[in-house]
């Protein structure tokens, strides 16, 4: 252990944070959508995958990675708006299982649609030139692109936090997550707020897909495993809690990174073990409110 070295451990921790950043981006969208709309969005992974393919599509037409960073969340979020408006909205008030089944089926259709349009095989995705290579972060060299992912995630979280805490829409969203009826009585058309939240959550998922593409390439099935992990993150953090999504996302990322270092064969199982432990000790998750689903 002594020779394994502090630096290697620290680097691996850092890798865990980079991995966790992607989970965080997916989980905040899931959590926001669940907290406001009580919709468990099983298509969230498919929106993630759409984001990656939107990046492929734009890159093939000469768009820079930087332009895609702006365009992809807008495109995927716009698609999310359509999905909420025309598919999910008719199901409000019918119980949690209707939108769950709908988004479950939608995810299959989105994956098939991409297979038809882009082929069933995975595609590589180039790391933007200026982010290739490694950077010295004091404890050793760390892939520059991963640093960028961490920084971009932090910026998105900061922006989201400012939006929620400092703007009128943020106030409506915070209040609407707790008590939609009083928000309606105070003159707000909550269905528009729900539309916005679904667009926001799916847009961020699309952006996460684009950010993940250079790390893992793109494939029609890339949304599956990451959705399972994002669900673990929301459950560990507490359904509907944004702070929970952030903390649990990083926790899960670090758990995966450290188990891959010490007991690689346990890496996949470790997060579910983590979830089981958290659920035994705190059934509502680290930051969840008890009884949200009851």
């Amino acid at each position: 252990m002594g020779t394994l070295g502090f630096d290697l451990l620290a680097l691996q921790l850092f890798a865990g944070v980079a991995l966790g950043a992607i989970y965080v981006l997916l989980a905040i969208g899931l959590s926001l959508i669940f907290g406001m709309l009580t919709v468990v969005n099983f298509a969230h992974g498919a929106f993630f995958m759409f984001g990656a393919y939107a990046g492929v599509f734009l890159a093939a037409r000469g768009a820079s990675f930087w332009a895609s960073l702006i365009a992809v969340p807008l495109i995927v979020g716009a698609f999310g708006l359509l999905v909420e408006r025309f598919l999910i909205r008719p199901l409000y008030g019918r119980g949690i299982d209707y939108p769950l089944l709908l988004t479950f089926g939608l995810a299959y259709m989105m994956v098939e649609g991409i297979r038809i349009a882009f082929g069933t095989l995975g595609l590589p995705f180039d790391t933007p030139e200026s982010l290739q290579g490694a950077t010295d972060i004091g404890i050793g060299f760390f892939p520059t692109y991963r640093l960028f992912v961490i920084g971009a995630t932090a910026a998105i979280l900061l922006g989201l936090w400012l939006f929620l805490e400092r703007t009128r829409y943020g106030l409506i969203i915070r209040a609407g997550a707790r008590d939609p009826q009083i928000v309606r009585v105070l003159g707000v058309d909550v269905s528009r707020v729900w539309l916005l939240v679904f667009g926001l959550g799916t847009g961020i998922a699309g952006l996460a897909g684009l950010l993940a593409a250079p790390l893992q390439g793109v494939s029609p099935e890339m949304g599956g495993p990451v959705l399972a992990e994002a669900f673990v993150v929301t459950v560990v953090g507490g359904m509907g809690s944004l702070l929970g999504a952030v903390v649990a996302g990083l926790l899960v990322g670090v758990t995966v990174a450290l188990t891959s270092l010490f007991v690689p064969e346990m890496a996949k199982v470790s997060i579910f073990a983590l979830m089981a432990v958290v659920l035994l000790v705190r059934p509502q998750g680290l930051f969840g409110r008890p009884g949200l689903l009851s």
Partner: protein, 235 residues
Amino acid sequence: MLRIEDLHAWYGPSHVLQGVSLEVNRGEIVCLIGRNGAGKTTTLKSVMGLIEKRRGRVVFEGQEILHRPAHARFALGLAYVPEERRIVPGLSVRDNLRLGLVASPEGRRHEAERIERATAAFPRLKERLDQVAVTLSGGEQQMLAIARAMISGPKLVMLDEPSEGIMPVLVDEMFEMFRRMRDEGTTILLVEQNVELALGLADRAYVLDQGVVVHHAPAAELLADEAIQERYCSV
């Protein structure tokens, strides 16, 4: 200003309002009384647009509103303070008040000034603007709920049992405030269990029983009519 005609409302299969008719004129305080389960809350909710299954006519400022969503009724100048107060957990007193302004562009432009004015009558709220609202006492929460409903300057405000669970001194203070609100031009539709106090304040009163209006009269007249009070309002 507000006219309800033959209003019916259902919760699932149970037919709760069975043809309520009443009228509130501009500048009046109208009181709605009746024993538990008579349908008072359901009447207010129907006027605000919170009951899905309903039939009849609700006319506010000359417009039929029965099929409009709640937020559109707010835009016409209707405000509602529910029985449970519905202070939003997790938000500060200030944010709860700001929530009363989010749907009013005019109010948003003068937010600080509106909050100042809305809390002028409630020194206790003013001192606690940045406190989490659910830590307020029951009476303070009721004051906050009323201030939040009034901050946008509605034409008519409906209050559901505002005195419930509040200590008597504060109730007197609150009723004094209702009187001032009326004098400043707000019309009030008040549901109260505290019949004597409410009749002392109101101009007119309606008595509701089992989903229909069984009596209506000037408040002073009802106050003197112990037989009616005995029959429909005692628990």
